[in-house]
Amino acid sequence: MRLAYFIPLALFLFFAGLAGYQLTQPKEQNVRSQMIEQPLPDFTLEPALEGMPGVSRADFVDGQPRLLNIWASWCLPCIAEAPHLERLREEGVEIIGIAVRDRPEAVADFLNRYGNPYSRIGSDDISELMLEIGASGVPETYVIDAAGNIRYQHIGDIRAETVPLLLEKLEEVR
């Protein structure tokens, strides 16, 4: 038995140990936006629905904090979060929606079915705003402070337990 013949085995055991350790570690799958604590970029989006106003940066800088919700009619988790957005609206929060890669008739259908918590909905046909604020998926919700700065990012659908958290964050940045 030569010691050299054990080198491959030793290397493999090292790898197996490392891989085993990594498998037991929880993995952060979400991509955090690099735009947190930065002002909203300048943008103007056409309305996603006839009869509702579109969205631009100017709508965020009037001294009141808001939620910016990125969603789409084709997104299943967005259906799950609809009732919780409705609750936030009942608490007096203004929610501005951005419909990503959507069509007006699909948007109207979705809102008829699951409710419309939005004060305005912009249409982001080519994920332009999504990229600029660093969103990596749909849905995502951002807390925007009174001066139009991005202060908090929630990735994924809003659940019952997220509602108080978002209310608290909105209060913090007031």
Binding site: A16, A19, K27
Partner: protein, 672 residues
Amino acid sequence: MIAELGLAALWLSAALSVLMMISGAMGLRDAASPHALYARPAAVVQAFLAVLAFFLLLYAFAVTDLSIKLVATNSHSAKPFIYKLTGTWGNHEGSMLLWVAVLALSGGLLGGLERRLPEKTMSATLMVQGFVALGFYAFMLLSSNPFERLPVPALEGGGLNPLLQDIGLAIHPPTLYVGYVGLSVAFSLAMGALITRQVTPDFAKVMRPWVLGAWVFLTFGITAGSYWAYYELGWGGWWFWDPVENASLMPWLAATALLHSVTVLAARDALRTWTIMLGVLAFSMSMLGTFLVRSGVLTSVHAFAVDPERGSFILGLLGLYIGGALVIFAMRAGSISEGKRFTVTSREGALVFNNVMLSAILAIVLLGTLYPLLTEAFDVRVSVGPPYFNPAGAIFAIPMFIVMAVGPLLRWKDDKPARIQFELALLAAVAIAIVALVAILGDYSVLAVLGLALSVALGIGALLPLKGRNIRRVPTATWGMIAAHFGVAVSLFGMASESAFTSEKLAAMAPGDSEVVAGWNIQLESVDPVAGPNWTAIEARVLAARGDEDPTVLGPQSRNFWSPPQPTSESALVTRWDGQLYVVVGDSAGIDANGNERWQIRVWWKPFVTFIWYGGLLIAFGGILSIVGRLQVDLKRRSAKAQGKARRADVEALGSSDGDEPGTAAAPEPAE
């Protein structure tokens, strides 16, 4: 019914793999044991059942049986038929079933066809093959059952990732899997020979066609995958050093080293332990790749749905098979003597040098691929890319290419460099002349210039073994080597040319505008919406003309699939003998001064880029020639032996002693 039949076939195959293992073990203990006879038929029937299970799943996808969970989550009734079929392996469970079916098929072919090994070694080999198969059956049946039913059939399926809805999915994964898993035969043979201490030239001759066969498929699969990524992803790149690409490259590097070292073992009875090590390593790299892709420990564009439980299961299998093989290697390798000696300046010397270089490149790729895993243990996220892989790989690739050009000119055992000084001088002069020429012409990266020079020198070097030989009498296997080496030169030329001379332009164009890229006149004629079976798209009509020729009409598309919703970019290509024009249409870029809508149009001219894949095909073709040549020689030798035996028997039967010399007209091993 279909799903239940498929599941039953899988369970039966698993049971047969147990029989194969036990019967193999019996044969290993006592070659005359009557129980040893079951191993071969078990391997064959097992292969039949596993392949049947795969075809049953294929059928379920073909008819979109939405009561099967896998079909419901990955297919859609409105999908074109061909993508329904290929969707079978566009997901974790289905591709795992393909993997296992190929594993079983390899074992079946081995058990059914291989008659040249000593019985004990064969028993040990089938035992190992059955043992490996058993683990992967267990993985399928316990954690990734492709035939699972839904309690209530779905109304409609979830659809297939649009990037996979391409003919590339029909070719790339199956060929790659045949290559990956075909290497299991080399693994089992290496273990069988190690356990029975039968690492001989005869063993190497048995192993060689199996290695070559897997290697041909692997080469073809990687080539096809590279071209698919190139035209489908719309980035104009052909290799991204993505962890999963690396996972396919690593077994290829190990298999390439293996098929050269097995040649040395066959021809010269040297490199015994090294060949065994590579045999173990090649399939270990295949299994490692499977683990990396399916466990989610690394992030990659190829990743399947991530599931740590599956990851732990495969890691367990890896520990069992790779760990076990390496333990046996460590215990036994000392008892196999290293074999015959040779000098540095000999054919073997060159082959050993390049074996070491290939292994070093393999280590570089392995380290780069696993490095993020290591740093993440310390909570640092890194991504390792071309800035590491290209120069680090080149350190070993450059000497390898030089030796590769010269090695085939050397004689076995011992040679004097002075004998081939003309060839050496010729190759050196060509390489230096090209470096000087390109350096004068422009400012290019060092690696690209060296790549160009080496590719031409290597191309000439690959043909030099033909010098002074009667072309018609060159053995087929030698033609195989020449084709494969020339293919490497062709591919390298394409890579170097693409990275040195590519011209790129990104322009915002309104219909009617034109641009010039590398002598091509590009005119945007119109941009219109179009619709396909399960997508809608913006299609640009682009006229491309070089010089005064008639323009070619191109239709690059920016597609939006609706199930699942995802945008993809369909590039449009013009292929010429000296390169490819690659056009992609992007998003709208606003309205210009005249009120026309402008579009982002990206155009590349990539000189000789197609040579990359022509080279890959040529390498695979060389492998096929080699197999044919080896089998020819083998069959000839066997029939000569049989004739000799028959004649000897006749002579003995006649009782005469003045008959012909017993026929020993065995064809000599062609020494290339």
